[in-house]
């Protein structure tokens, strides 16, 4: 009696047909209700393993959010879902209220204003630092416009500004492949800034950094919040403590606790799975 059920499901229209709905993935980012990122009931499984298990998470416009959690808690998978690298089995992901991230591909999402810094720094090693920034700059991404692109004064100034901001003003001419590990991380953040995204997803920004470099990174990220929404995934608790206003703890693919660092640290469940180790 499958067909009967199907017919009933079809006939029972307490909602409009999907085709009548307006296309969700167009227009500007709408943040009138506060959050800029909505993840709702997102589930991702790989070969039966649930990397994300009904994860629900909201990021407010302009906030700096730290996401922590033990290995395998689903932090990177969450970023993959937001940036369109992984499609969830279930659930919804929205950028503002109007843009349905699940209907957009990786490039569309990047162009709409979600930038990501990967865990392993990936810059273009055989381009100069300034060229790395130039390539990341927001603007048309078409083939023909790239062929005829000119570098105007305002672009140059923007590149110089970002070079200054990430502390690489003296390294502009260097090949990106010759930078130190920490400098590459900053260059990547600089590339994110050139994209001028609404949301910056930053995956383990201080891995392998010295203490001094860490301090500078913390300062850089706090400066960026407000103008952009910044989501930082990090292992280093000391670093998280130094920048965090609001912390989300992930565990086994869903949110375990959320709140200020003190609240989270005093939560017995968190202590059990993560901080207590």
């Amino acid at each position: 009696m499958q067909w009967l059920d199907d017919t009933r499901a079809f006939m029972r229209r307490d909602q409009v047909f999907d085709i009548v709905r307006p296309v969700a993935s167009s227009g500007r980012v709408d943040t009138r209700h506060g959050p800029i990122l909505y993840l709702e009931d997102v589930t991702v499984s790989f070969d039966g393993f649930r990397a994300l298990d009904a994860l629900t998470l909201y990021i407010d416009d302009g906030e700096l959010r730290c996401i922590i959690g033990p290995n395998g808690a689903g932090k990177s998978t969450m970023m993959d879902v937001i940036t369109g690298r992984t499609r969830p089995d279930n659930g919804g992901a929205w950028f503002g209220q109007r843009l349905d991230l699940l209907r957009m591909d990786e490039t569309e999402i990047a162009q709409a204003g979600i930038g990501r810094k990967f865990q392993k720094p990936t810059v273009f090693p055989r381009h100069r630092v300034v060229e790395n920034l130039e390539l990341a700059m927001a603007g048309p991404r078409g083939v023909w416009s790239a062929l005829t692109a000119r570098l105007d004064r305002s672009t140059r100034e923007r590149i110089d500004e970002v070079l200054e901001e990430i502390g690489l003003a003296d390294q502009g001419r260097a090949l990106a492949g010759q930078l130190s590990h920490g400098q590459k991380q900053w260059l990547e953040i600089g590339m994110l800034l050139m994209q001028n995204p609404r949301v910056l997803l930053v995956d383990e920004p201080v891995a392998g950094m010295t203490h001094q470099e860490m301090d500078r990174t913390a300062e850089l990220l706090t400066r960026l919040a407000g103008r952009h929404s910044v989501v930082v995934v990090e292992h280093d608790m000391e670093f998280v403590r130094s920048i965090a206003r609001k912390v989300t703890v992930l565990h086994q693919g869903s949110v375990l606790a959320e709140g200020s660092m003190e609240e989270v640290q005093s939560d017995p469940r968190v202590i059990e799975v993560y901080l207590g180790e």
Binding site: T107, F124, H127, E134, L135, A146, L147, A149, G172
Partner: protein
């Protein structure tokens, strides 16, 4: 290369303002290549046509044609370097585009024969009469016009390149897999062109050309004109490639070569860039083939042979991948060496070529250009 540090200048000065501004800025090799082409265009016609043939300064028509062929190979190498050196796509099938350009030109030359063929048919080429065909296949229509043939020289390889690239790059076929399917493409075309039913002369291909644009194809002046056309084509194509490489598009394409996922993550549709560069490269290879055919006087399916495409890769590697002028140099030099060697050791040539490739890969991965630069640096 060292960069002069000027404390006041901004580092953004290093990015070219626009692709066409000061296109040869800092490109010594390119200046030499273009200077050489200009010199050849002036000197070779004089030495061949004006200097009497008993003078030691005289260049024989045979030598002019031979040099013209080297320039065509240099152009093929240039087109291959654009995709391999700058975009990281190792094509093992570029000979297919070369041969298609050659066939388009060959079809024009066949129709120029008119009723001077063995069978004297005013329209049908000899091989069609021999096969008992009654009329010209539709795809031969229009090739009696030079402008149409010239258009097809670019359009046919370009279309094949576009379709192939569209299918391959959109499906994210990269690396070795792409090389293999490009090789399969040229092999499949070779088998197809061997068939008589295809209407391209089968095994024998197209030959017995009489004249081009009304000039006898074997006349020394025509040969010199073809040589000059090849030199001009090489110079012009070099400038086009250089403009591409210096534009932002060029920087995106090199970024794709070095870190494709990253390029995608900052919002570039890398497949479109690859298709674009691949198509341009295919058209340049077609142009090379079209200039090659009237100079050698024949085009047959063996031009599609995978071996030819692999040889072209060796030229680029020997000359210096990712330098454009180095690739052109490699294309000309390796073929010159082949001409010298096959005169005494014909059967050894393939071993020499293979050995050369191994030696280049192992000992000087940046090719001749890299070798020269290192010497200059030390």
């Amino acid at each position: 290369m060292t960069v002069k540090m000027t404390p006041s200048g901004s580092a953004t000065d290093l990015i070219p303002l626009a692709a066409h501004r000061r296109i040869l800025h800092g490109d010594l090799g390119g200046k030499i290549l273009l200077g050489l082409m200009a010199a050849l265009i002036v000197v070779v016609p004089i030495l061949n046509l004006a200097v009497p043939s008993d003078s030691p300064m005289h260049i024989s028509t045979y030598a002019v044609t031979l040099m013209g062929r080297y320039l065509c190979f240099a152009l093929l190498a240039l087109s291959l370097d654009l995709v391999w050196g700058y975009c990281g796509i190792l094509s093992l099938g570029h000979g297919a585009f070369f041969a298609l350009g050659g066939y388009a030109m060959g079809m024009y030359l066949m129709r120029q024969i008119g009723d001077r063929g063995v069978y004297g048919d005013p329209v049908l080429p000899d091989f069609m009469v021999f096969l008992g065909w009654e009329e010209l296949p539709w795809y031969w229509l229009g090739f009696d016009q030079f402008w149409f043939a010239a258009l097809m020289v670019l359009a046919v390889p370009g279309t094949l390149g576009f379709v192939f690239g569209w299918l391959a790059f959109r499906s994210r076929v990269t690396g070795v897999y792409l090389s293999i399917i490009s090789q399969a493409m040229t092999y499949a075309l070779m088998l197809a062109f061997f068939r008589n039913e295809m209407g391209f002369g089968g095994n024998n291909g197209l030959t017995d050309f009489k004249d081009i644009l009304g000039f006898s194809i074997s006349a020394p002046s025509t040969r010199v004109a073809l040589f000059v056309a090849s030199a001009l084509a090489l110079a012009l194509s070099y400038l086009i490639c250089r403009a591409i490489v210096r534009s932002r598009l060029g920087r995106v394409v090199t970024a794709v070569r070095d870190a494709e996922p990253r390029t995608r993550s900052i919002g570039y549709r890398t497949d479109r860039y690859k298709v674009w560069v691949w198509t341009v490269s295919a058209m340049l290879a077609g142009l090379a083939g079209a200039l090659y055919v009237p100079q050698v006087g024949i085009i047959n399916p063996s031009e599609f042979s995978p071996l030819n495409s692999i040889e072209a890769v060796v030229w680029v590697a020997v000359g210096g991948r990712g330098t454009l002028f180095g690739a052109a140099l490699g294309g000309a030099l390796v073929n010159y060496a082949q001409t010298l060697l096959t005169a005494w050791l014909a059967e050894l040539w393939l071993f020499v070529l293979g050995g050369l490739f191994v030696a280049v890969t192992l000992f000087f991965p940046r090719g001749l250009v890299g070798l020269l630069r290192r010497r200059e640096g030390s």
